[in-house]
Amino acid sequence: MIETSICQIVFYVFALLAILFAICVVGSRNPVNSAMNMALSFGCVAAILFGLGAQFLGIVQIIVYAGAILVLFLFVVMMLDLKDEERNTGSMRSAAVGTTIAAILAGLITSISLSLPGATEISCPMAAICDNIGELAPGAEATQATPTPGYGGSLPALSPAAAAKAVQPDISDAEAAKATSMQDIRLLGQTLYTQYNIAFVILGFALLSGTVGAVALARKIRKD
């Protein structure tokens, strides 16, 4: 039970910090402060993902969001006239619109995460997944080569076979055993390119059109 409480504490600390920094992003007048707070918030989210055993997702969170996108934000924000920005007080209308959108998003995420298998059974989210795995694939611990210690060095890492079962509950035990040799990256890749292939490709096109649009906007139009 000690393990559960440690992982609970760490999870809630990072979750609270993430929310705190997120509030600071909206609250601070100085755009650079906002950007830096956002980076810290991303860091906390990455830490939570690490704690859940999703190391790949956590590190991608840092590489893509904290390491690239936010730096670009900072890049642009730094060129603003900060005195002008600090004087600006946002209108009530934009605040209302923002709150509504945030509330809708939060509702969506909550409903989706509650519909995941085993989400409502145990109070600690990490323990929920770990215990769930234990029930689904009893042989998982034995096949693990070296358990990567999570928080406090005691939490067993998310075993790939069990994770495979957690994502796709309908696959057979043989397939789950096959997935033991794979890591969460392969698992993620397989899920993205098989189950969610169409959505993934559509997203890719959306990003591409965004890029093309940005290039078209930024490009100087020559008259000759």
Binding site: Q55, I59, G67, L74, T148, P149, G153
Partner: protein, 420 residues
């Protein structure tokens, strides 16, 4: 005595304590190694720069013997005492050799003390913080530059593993399954340091330096991440320890001469891997802000770049951060392409079967030798190439490397699929 042994046994038998203690020891070793290498690479940089320019470089800064004289040896040259003690005449060849090494005046360090003394000087210098800077970010920025490379080093394996009676110790601080990604992510965070330093200085040249640093680091991070994908496709794992183990068994990435490395597929793979190597090394140069790409602190057009307004130890931490990034960059290249700690030609397995501790020692030494060789290469390139122009840097990153790496991934896939 027995009580202590028992207590130790109990302590080490506990998985958590065993993990914590071994990790702490490895952490200290790794940290000391990196810091020592920062000093050493500064020395290598200055010596090699000297040799390339027909100068000796810093060759003084020995430990002067007058310090000894002050503690009691009174007027006498210690060298003469030593020679007399061994009964060597003062005109013999040995005595002349000692004089040539300046042993009569100092204990020679061949200039190795120079970086330490420079560090001491910077530490004792007056710290000036301009009144117009944004204080918080101005203070945080140097930390953000020095910290990430040190943290990134955590996943680098410096030897294989050892089986003890309490459990197996993998010679790598954190044996994560996302090794290279961890390094890219964490060392990529140092861009915050450069950007914030440039912005918080509140002065135009540092600002331009910060902007350049941001743009450059982001551009090359893309190509860097894509250029290792062929490797990962070949290894099929992201764990650096297993990547190096694979290379130890089956030939280094760029030297497939034993094990499975002699297959046709591996030799055909040399083409995409060679391209990967070139691009990756170039990107490491760009990420470490080293000379052909040191646009951010290009003194000819930006005074000193992002660290213009910094002085004393804050400047020193930028300086050290740059060299730490260089050391980590070299270590990553060595790990991914040049076999990491592996001694090669099957010697690892043979040594490990003889004695695992001996194998680990030899492997650590091998890793250090490879690292030093690659740091030398870094320095060699720096004193050969002139700095690129800014638009050339951007063009190279976005128009050449990005396309080339994507094409390279497809080429690798084709090779892996068609050549068996």
């Amino acid at each position: 005595m027995d009580a202590i042994c028992n207590w130790w046994n109990d302590l080490m038998s506990n998985d958590i304590w065993f993990y914590l203690l071994t990790t702490a020891v490895k952490l200290v070793i790794m940290f000391a190694l990196i810091l020592a290498f920062v000093v050493l690479s500064v020395w290598i940089e200055r010596r090699v720069a000297g040799w390339i320019q027909d100068r000796p470089g810093p060759n003084r800064a020995g430990l002067p013997l007058f310090l000894l004289q002050r503690f009691g040896s009174k007027e006498k040259q210690p060298l003469k005492d030593v020679l007399h003690f061994f009964g060597i005449p003062e005109t013999s060849r040995i005595a002349r050799l000692c004089t040539w090494l300046r042993l009569d005046r100092e204990i020679p360090t061949f200039g190795l003390m120079q970086p330490c003394l420079d560090g001491g000087k910077l530490f004792l210098k007056q710290e000036t913080t301009p009144s117009y800077v944004r204080k918080l970010y101005f203070i945080v920025a140097p930390m953000l530059v020095l910290g990430p490379p040190m943290v990134a080093a955590a996943v680098l394996p410096f030897a294989s593993c050892v089986d003890t009676i309490y459990g197996s110790i993998s010679m790598c601080v954190a044996n994560l399954d996302i090794g290279p990604l961890w390094i890219f992510a964490i060392s990529g965070l140092s861009v915050y340091g450069l950007t914030l330093a440039g912005w918080s200085s509140n002065s135009k040249y540092p600002f331009l330096g910060g902007l350049r640093a941001t743009a450059q680091l982001i551009s090359y991070e893309v190509a860097m991440g894509l250029s290792v994908i062929p490797l990962l496709m070949m290894f099929g794992t992201l764990n650096l320890q297993s990547i190096v183990q694979y290379q130890a068994d089956n030939g280094w990435t760029l030297l497939p001469l034993w094990g499975e490395g002699l297959s046709l597929q591996r030799w055909v793979m040399m083409l995409p891997l060679g391209i990967s190597f070139l691009i990756f090394v170039t990107c490491v140069f760009a990420e470490a802000n080293r000379t052909p790409f040191d646009m951010a602190e290009c003194e000819t057009d930006l005074v000193g770049g992002y660290h213009t307004e910094y002085s004393s130890m804050k400047f020193a931490s930028f300086f050290m951060g740059e060299y730490a990034a260089m050391v980590i960059g070299s270590a990553v290249v060595v790990t991914l392409f040049l076999g990491g700690w592996s001694i090669g030609f099957g010697a690892d397995a043979a040594l490990a079967s003889y004695s695992q501790w001996l194998a680990v020692l030899c492997q650590t030494l091998m890793f250090i030798v490879k690292l030093l060789a690659f740091i030398f290469f870094f320095v060699w390139v720096r004193w050969t190439l002139p700095r690129f122009r800014w638009d050339q840097v951007m063009k190279l990153g976005w128009l050449v490397f990005l396309e080339l790496t994507v094409a390279n991934i497809f080429l690798t896939a084709a090779v892996l699929y068609f050549v068996k």
